[in-house]
Every structure is written in structure tokens, then in C-alpha cells.
Symmetry: C2
Subunit: 307 residues, 2 copies
Amino acid sequence: MASSPKYLTGDKAAINEFLDKFDVFLFDCDGVLWSGDHLFEGTVETLELLRSRGKQVVFVTNNSTKSRADYKKKLESMGIPATVDEVFGSSYSAAIYISRIIKPQPPRNKVFVLGEAGVEAELESENISYIGGTDPSLRRDITPEDFKAIASGEALDPAVGYVLAGLDFHVNYLKLSIAFQYLRRGAKFLATNVDSTLPNAGSLFIGAGGISAPLIRAMGGEEPIAFGKPNQSMMDAIEGKFRFDRSRACMVGDRLDTDIKFGIEGRLGGTLCVLTGVSKREDWEAENPAAVPAAYVDTLGDLRVAA
Amino acid sequence: MASSPKYLTGDKAAINEFLDKFDVFLFDCDGVLWSGDHLFEGTVETLELLRSRGKQVVFVTNNSTKSRADYKKKLESMGIPATVDEVFGSSYSAAIYISRIIKPQPPRNKVFVLGEAGVEAELESENISYIGGTDPSLRRDITPEDFKAIASGEALDPAVGYVLAGLDFHVNYLKLSIAFQYLRRGAKFLATNVDSTLPNAGSLFIGAGGISAPLIRAMGGEEPIAFGKPNQSMMDAIEGKFRFDRSRACMVGDRLDTDIKFGIEGRLGGTLCVLTGVSKREDWEAENPAAVPAAYVDTLGDLRVAA
């Protein structure tokens, strides 16, 4: 059993001591900086405080619907200055893996995408061929002709060798059927991330894991290779870029099973849980918690008292 | 290890001996009588042969998209005479369970349906209140306003106490999000069936299990109560209706994990697997097969040589 996390809210000395231990802060976004379109109080000031103390700030998100450029825009629209390089998303992580590790070769080098424009943008940034995604011709009901054409293969592109599933707000039976048929024909199964839920509007919605779940079930339990937190391929990519000392880095997040686990398995110097998102204190006090953070605060803004 | 299934194709004496052992034949439909809109050769004649020998025929389907009346029409359009009473579907099985076992009481007596008209028709036949289903106002993309109204509960009906998930060819993120929110607020999780795949057009597509899978994942692994084969609530309902001797009944199907398991766990006198659907001989010859049939034929029509 890990030791109890330290509660930092309201304890200026403990906060300063904690912040001094790190040079790099990796931030989960949804549920930490904001929920949906609602920015939490004190987020901007806390990030300013960290930057003013010379800390490197990295925004690490499993949200696959947005590209890094989209995220930079979102951060700035919230009043948080950021560069594209400071953003790591699961779509980017997936694109990097495909282009640099898999290195797809013809004749089966295309990716069939279940997801939004963010996945497409990151695949494009790595020059990966793809179909599906936001293609408007697939945003419709399945027809009897589709069943035949998908079954026969007529509706399929023989160059597809990979299925990449991310969060798709336009998921439908037609796209799932096409993805399943590619998998049945041997395409490699990848997912930007498999988060069970998505925090939004102060509640929880279906996460990217809900898009791959029908395929996992139809494939008899075959799980995709997933790139979001807590998968360490993302940590390796971040480290490869920033070349930081892991012992001087802290992961800040709201979910034990993704963020905090990501930091612990990545052997970072620290993890900080905020209670503005999915996980609550009961979750790490329960038996067999997914992960136990080193410290926690009620909200990220509570760190401001350090100033 | 169960003994090897007997191969009956081409063996007239063995077929007659097998048929003589039973008074009732329960038939799975998709993958046994037909695949999609393609009727297998010999289906009609085989059913006529069984009826001419005084056998009771029951059509047992996990397809939740069709009501019993729809199925009777489908059977007749294929040239197979049938009555509504000879049809047992997973939607009917679910409706019976809700009305007769659960007996929903106000103020939370409504069912939110993920599924097609077949589920609605069976719920109506049991006077169960429902929303969702084929409601055209839910066949659209989710909007930012939806996220807020679902999260706040404004978009929800407080009378909903049950979520019933069946195969929904019009599944979308909006409907999944609403269903998930009802479940988070304590609605009971039910599924017509959780088949991993759907045979159609000579291939496999996403089954009803793919509709509940995103909800199961989002609910942290909570499984619905499911009513399709191999769930024995369906067998009990069939027995309740036909009052047959289980030792004189035979389940005919194409799937080890649903049909054959259903017959074995229901302690029927026999099970017959046809190779025109999902399962192949390798499947029961593998280690730890889902179930092993008593006998098998290449196609249902092979039974005609008994005549």
C-alpha cells in the first residue's frame, strides 16, 4: 500500500516545498484546467506562477478530437498562453508511433480513422495516408447495399492496413461496420486512447474507449494498441522532445487510472491529483486503487497561495 | 471434454435417428435459415419435413430489431409459413421480463431504449412506457447545448428507471450519452442481448453487444442483464409457453457461444450446429470451446435426405 497523499490546499509552506521539487509540470487539461468550456478559477494565475518560477509546462491530453494546433487555440481562448510544442495529444502520439515505429509500407499503408478532425490533422502532419474520419459520405445511415458492399469488400480500400479509433462524436453503425470489416481482414487495431469517459459540462460522457469498445467486443476481446495516458509511449515521446529529468517532473491530473498512473509508471518525481474532475478521495482510499497520487489539492487554483 | 459431435450430412439413417429423438425444434434464424436476405437452399423443405412429421417448430432469435410480427412477415416473405406464437425474439423476452418480473412502478417506470422498432413494438405489447428508440429527434449530431442539458438533467426524463440496449443501426453519440446519463443516475441496465456480431450478407457485422459495449466501458465494467440466448430467461419463457419436455427438444443454431450453449445450459435433449453461420468445426475442436454440439450438418437443408 502506498503512503497517503499529502493534502496541500491552504498549506502555503507545503505547496512551496512541493513546487520546488520540480522543473517540469505535465498537465492533464479536461477536469484539471477546465471542464468543457468552463475554466476553473485560478487556472491562469497558477500557470503564470509556475512559468514565473521558470517551470516548463506541458499540456498532455487524451482528447483525440483536437490537434495540437486546436489545443493551442483552445488554451489561448481560455486566456492561457501556449505554444504548439507545449501540447501533447493522444492523436499526435498515435501519429508519431505510426510514422516512426510502424512506418507503414505500400500496398497496405493507409489508416481507416474513426475520429474527428484532430486525428486527421496529426496524421497529415506526419504524412500518413488515411480515409474515414470526418468524410461526410460516411455520416449517414447504413443501407442494405452497404451491408453487401462491405461484406464483399467492394466498399473497402485494399490499401487500408490500420484502423485507428479515437473519440468520434459522429460515430455510427456504418463507420463501425467498415472498421470491423478492415479488422477482420487483418488490419492492425490502434486507438488514440481508450478513456472510458469524457468529462464535459460538469459531468461525464462517453470517452474514446466507447468508440473502440464495439470493435473490441466484435473482435472477441482483441484490444487495440492505445497511445493515450497511461500508455508510456506518450511519456517517451514527451521525454524525447523535452529531454527532462523524470525525477524533477510532476504529473498533474484528475484521474487515477490515466493521469496519476501515467506519472507513477513513468517514474516521475511526483504526481498531483486535483479534485475537479473524475477521481475523488474515496477512489484512492478504496481497496486496490488504480493509483495513489503523491499529493492532492481541491482545485489547481489552490496552488496560488504559494505566491 | 464433451464427446465429438456426430456429423449427419449425407447419412440418411443417422439423420432419421436424430430427428426421431425430438418433438420440438428450436431454430436460430440468421445464419441457419438464411443470411441477411439470402435464404439457404433447402430451408423451406426441411421445415416442411419437420412439420409433416408432427414436430413443433419455434424460431428463436436474438435479433432485437424485429418484433415477433416482423419476424413472422420475414419468415413468410422467405416462403416459410409461421405464426407469431412460433417466434421468440430477444426484444420480446426483454419486454416479458420487464412487465412480469420487474413490474416497473411510478415515479420511475419508463424505459429509455437504444434500439429499433422491434424493441418498441414488444414493449408496447406489454404496455411498458418507453422513450428513445426510433425517436427522430434523437437521430442527429450532439450539440454543445446537448452536453449541458444532458449533464444538468434538463434533457432527461425523471421517470426513466431503465435503459434497454438492443441492436441499433441508428446508434449515435447523442443517444449513447443520454443512456449513459440515465445509468449514472441509477437507471437499471438491461440489454435485449449482447451478441458480439451480427451475421449478414455472408459476413459479420457489429452485434447488439456493440451497442451496450460503450456503456459497459463508461460504467466501469458494469454488465447489463441480457435476455437473448444463451440467457436462460428466454428458455424459461419458451418452455412456459409450449410446455414441452426439454429432453425431447433440440436447439439448432450456428453459434457455439449463443445457440449451442443455450441448448446445453437449458438441458435440452439435443443440439445441432449448422456450418452456414459463425461457428466452424475448428471452434469446437479448439481447446476450451464455448460449447460442443451433439451433432452437426453442413447446411440445414442436408436434413432433407431424411425424407
